[in-house]
Amino acid sequence: MLKIHLVLTAIGRRVLLVLSMLVLTVALFAGMQGRAAAADSWSFVRIFHASPDIGTVDVFMDGKKLLSNFQYGTVTAYTPVAAGMHTLQLAAIGTGVNAAVLTQTLALQAGTPYTVVALGTKATGLSLHIFADNNQVASNLARVRFYDMSPGTGVVDVSEQGNMLINGLAYAQASNYVNIPPGSYTFTFTSSQENMSASVSVQLNAWTVTGIFAINALNNGNTDSQLQFVQSQITGMPGMPGTGSDPYVAAEQTSLPISWPPVILLALCSASAGTIAFFCRARGKRHTEETHV
């Protein structure tokens, strides 16, 4: 009885071992599939520090430090982040994630670039705003987008040489993209509410996408406070190429795919047959002439 029990136990262990290996293999395979599927599952986040009151900060994503010594008025490059839900936190430099002064949950879509802006003052309230970006180029033009991140500006208009480009851009909002021929421009932000006007000069190149951020807190009656600008320019993404051809048109003769080996073989056979036949005929002719003589 004991022997039977031991045998069954041994069989059970083997079965368990095999099952464990199977589970492990499936898990590994699933993991590999997950990694393989991840090539197009990134989203892209750049972070802009537009809050003058929180000073230099560390940035944390899902509790892990993403950036150190992140200073007011700076913008990062687009950083790939796995699509999905994430928690972004900013804490004064060196204080750790538990001392975060700003916390925001981000729902990131695969393939989408985002600009996340740390915004506001202690008086107006601190916040993190997220903007979905579109970095696709527009023909041979440059693209530009304006961000009003300056507390106290109210609603602003953006013009260029007197031509209105953006009308009524509210605080904490980004404008639509403006497609514009490449060149040097001076854009003017005007706030009739605050009786304020400030300009920024930029060089816009073809196929670039430029973000112009207006920052700094404007205080009523404080003539020292001025609007400041930060620019961020990247090369835009081209659209997908046209790599197909019309299957219904007649093929170009010169571009027909020809299999040359059979043609060469035919040519050689033809030449050989011609040569042999020629000599045979000549020989027969000579033989006939000799016989005739």
Binding site: R35, A36, A37, A38, A39, D40, W42, F44, A77, Y78, T79, P80, A110, G111, T112, P113, N135, Q136, V137, A138, S139, N140, W207, I234, T235, M237, P238, G239, M240, P241, G242, T243, G244, S245, D246, P247, Y248, V249, A250, A251, E252, S255, L256, P257, W260, V263, I264, L266, A267, L268, S270, A271, S272, A273, G274, T275, A277, F278, R281, K285
Partner: protein, 209 residues
Amino acid sequence: MRKFWSVHYSLLLLLGLALTFSSCGTLSSTSLKTAQPIVATRQPTGTATPTVQPTAVTNIALPVRLLIPTLGVDASVEQVGILPNGNLATPTGHPWDDVGWYDLGPRPGERGSVVIDGHLDRPGGYPAVFWNLSKLHSGDQVLVIDNQSHTFRYRVTQVAFYSPQAAPLQNIFGNNNGHYLNLITCAGDWIPSQHQTTLRLVVYTTLIT
């Protein structure tokens, strides 16, 4: 009668010789094409206007050949930019046989997303250089050789199909999280009214060595 046969045989001989030499001539020109010297200048792309000004570039490693052993692809690499309509340009030198490297992006071996496109088919539906690209699988290798004889070996990680309007452009062109090479060609059905196919095929690869 004898004269007739002599003329006949002579014509047969001449025909054979002509076919032979014409065939050999074509093969020679093909061989010359594959062995052509490396041109380290930017080529104008597009159909209406040049999209990239020619620039003399020396001592800069530029890709010259693309090899996909499992598909038997061995193609010359042209440089392509952006068309006036904003789309990625395609090879113009030998449009059906060459592939195009997007020269506003990183070079092979560099960090970021290197992008190479190539035609699926020729007018009339005959195969072009990336006819079999959809047959690639994860793990297959893609090699790029530059004009300084460096070989960059990439491994396929994903094969994906997108409509051209919904393709994740930032993923394809702007992922700097690693060293990538992304191959693009057409797929799906031809839409005569749009003069394009319904889909685009993207083969994502990552650098091995």
